[in-house]
Amino acid sequence: MTAKEVRWPGKELTAKEFYNKVTVTRYRPEAKFAWSAGEAMSRFLAELQRGRLIARSCSSCKRVLFPPRMFCEECFRPTDAWVYVRDTGTIETYSISYIDLDAKRIETPVYVGVVSVDGASPKMGIMHYFGEVAPETIRIGLRVKAEWKPAHEREGSVLDIRYWRPLRRGE
């Protein structure tokens, strides 16, 4: 409806009427899940709580698989041993995100990307947030370190790491 033409014949529907009464029906499914993390990820999450990153090694292709898995997808065989990797790494890719999940503009941009983790094989890393960076300072190849939550706040989640921030002098 334009400003010039004020009234049209018929009954005008409000948004509430339109979405709740006339053309659609609503339903909220009862769909709740609790996924078993499994052998590999259970250990990974437990180690996160201790502030450590753990991986699995494959003695056939000699890769260190991170996050850990009980089988090597390249060799199709069981992996062999638990190995700790470091909580430092290198920015592999990044993006500066200016919108939220609803595609609304956000004031302070969010830095996201993949860190290749020191001690793990190439193409093994973690998708996460970056912090203490600016559009001018973040770059591919930047050396970073995990900024952990305090031990008592960790709950066995990838969010036990707040973000990855540039290495400080001496680290």
């Binding site: 029906t25 499914p29 009862e30 769909a31 899940f33 052998e39 199709f76």
Partner: protein, 383 residues
């Protein structure tokens, strides 16, 4: 061109599997199947078919997550949103079309990860027409059981006998999760769910993963001493309207059976099929499916059940594995489970539950409430 089943991997059914993720369960089934077939998935397998439905898994685009644990990274892979036998048909056609020589089919259940089973089943109801009524979705099984019992001479007692047989068979099947000594009287005395359906008429849920390896005829002969041939497959769906579909006759199973029998050149199924693994997600489904598939004459099924005509050792053993009632309802993996059990029977590897030298077997699946969709596979050994 014939297509043979040359590898079977079944993870023993369990009511819960908290220590393994669904990926790890799939990996176990795949390892078993590849070892059985003597194939290396990274070198020998041309294509991979998985059967899954996102709502059972609890996350979207499930097919994205299948390659690693099957050895299918950077290989042709796709997911069929249906029962395992739908996937089997897809795999068979890929081989017959010449796209691949060896194809893997997988289906699984990690239904113990789902906290609201009834909620997800109810979510499958028509959103405008049936959903607003609410209620536990098993009322559909109650309605169908009532309609079927009225239309056939099968009574609640015969259904109870099916439960007792399948639970008993499962006791000696190492892959079954729900074997037990249950008498028909126990079943009849169990609490009502949606009359006439009672608690023990319902197949309890279970977790598993099942992988089969299929191969083109010449390749199958090289891989397996005695390949199990897929002689025919069929699938069919009735109208989704609960008010319109056939309640008494499992018309979908009759159509799917007809399609599979035509390929297998089976004219008299009751005489030619020597072992059958048939959907029994609810007790009454076994006799209903037997009749629809022409394996039992309408009107005489109740007597046949009471005579023990479908027991191990009788002329047509039905669900010697224990079926879904004895092994567990493994949702989309149910059809592939039935195929796997028939394969083991035809190979003579069914252990204590072995039927006497069967050469022709049948597996028939149903996708469960509220669907009227089923699929059938006719399998055979020898020429």
């Amino acid at each position: 061109m014939r297509v043979g089943i040359v590898g079977v991997g079944v993870v023993p059914f369990r009511t819960v599997t908290p220590e393994y993720s669904w990926k790890e369960i799939m990996y176990e089934a795949a390892q078993r199947a590849y070892a059985d077939a003597g194939v290396d998935p990274r070198a020998d397998v041309g294509s991979f078919v998985t059967c899954a439905e996102d709502y059972w898994e609890g996350f979207g685009i499930f097919d994205e997550f299948t390659p690693d644990q099957l050895g299918a990274v950077l290989r042709p892979a796709c997911t069929v949103t249906g029962d395992g036998i739908h996937g089997l048909a897809q795999a068979m056609m890929q081989i017959q079309a010449g796209l691949a020589d060896v194809v893997v089919v997988e289906a699984h259940s990690k239904v113990s990860d789902l906290l609201t089973y009834a909620g997800v089943v109810h979510h499958a109801f028509d959103p405008i027409w049936n959903k607003p009524l609410g209620g536990h979705p098993y009322y559909v099984a109650g309605l169908e059981m009532d309609a079927y019992l009225r239309a056939s001479r099968v009574g609640e007692k015969a259904c109870a006998a099916v439960v007792a047989k399948n639970r008993q068979n499962a006791l000696t099947n190492p892959r079954a999760a729900h074997g037990s000594k249950v008498t028909p009287e126990d079943v009849l005395a169990s609490p009502p769910i949606s009359a006439p359906l009672k608690d023990l008429d319902v197949a309890p849920l279970a977790d598993t993963s099942i992988v089969l390896v299929l191969a083109a005829e010449s390749r199958a002969r090289k891989l397996a001493a005695n390949p199990v041939w897929i002689r025919g497959v069929g699938w069919s769906s009735d109208s989704p309207w609960l008010e319109t579909r056939s309640w008494t006759t499992a018309a979908y199973a009759a159509m799917a059976g007809k399609m599979a029998y035509a390929q297998a050149k089976i004219r008299n199924p009751a005489k030619e099929v020597e072992v059958a693994e048939i959907d029994d997600k609810f007790s009454y489904k076994e006799p209903q499916h037997l009749e629809a598939l022409g394996l039992s004459k309408k009107g005489s099924t109740a007597n046949a059940i009471s005579r023990g005509d479908f027991d191990i050792g009788a002329k047509l053993p039905v669900n010697p594995s224990g079926g879904s009632i004895g092994c567990g309802n493994v949702i989309e993996a149910s059809g592939l489970h039935r195929v796997a059990e028939v394969v083991l029977q035809l190979r003579g590897e069914a252990g204590q539950n072995q039927v006497d030298h069967p050469r022709t077997g049948l597996a028939a699946s149903w996708r469960g409430i509220p669907t009227a969709t089923g699929a059938v596979a006719v399998l055979g050994v020898g020429r």
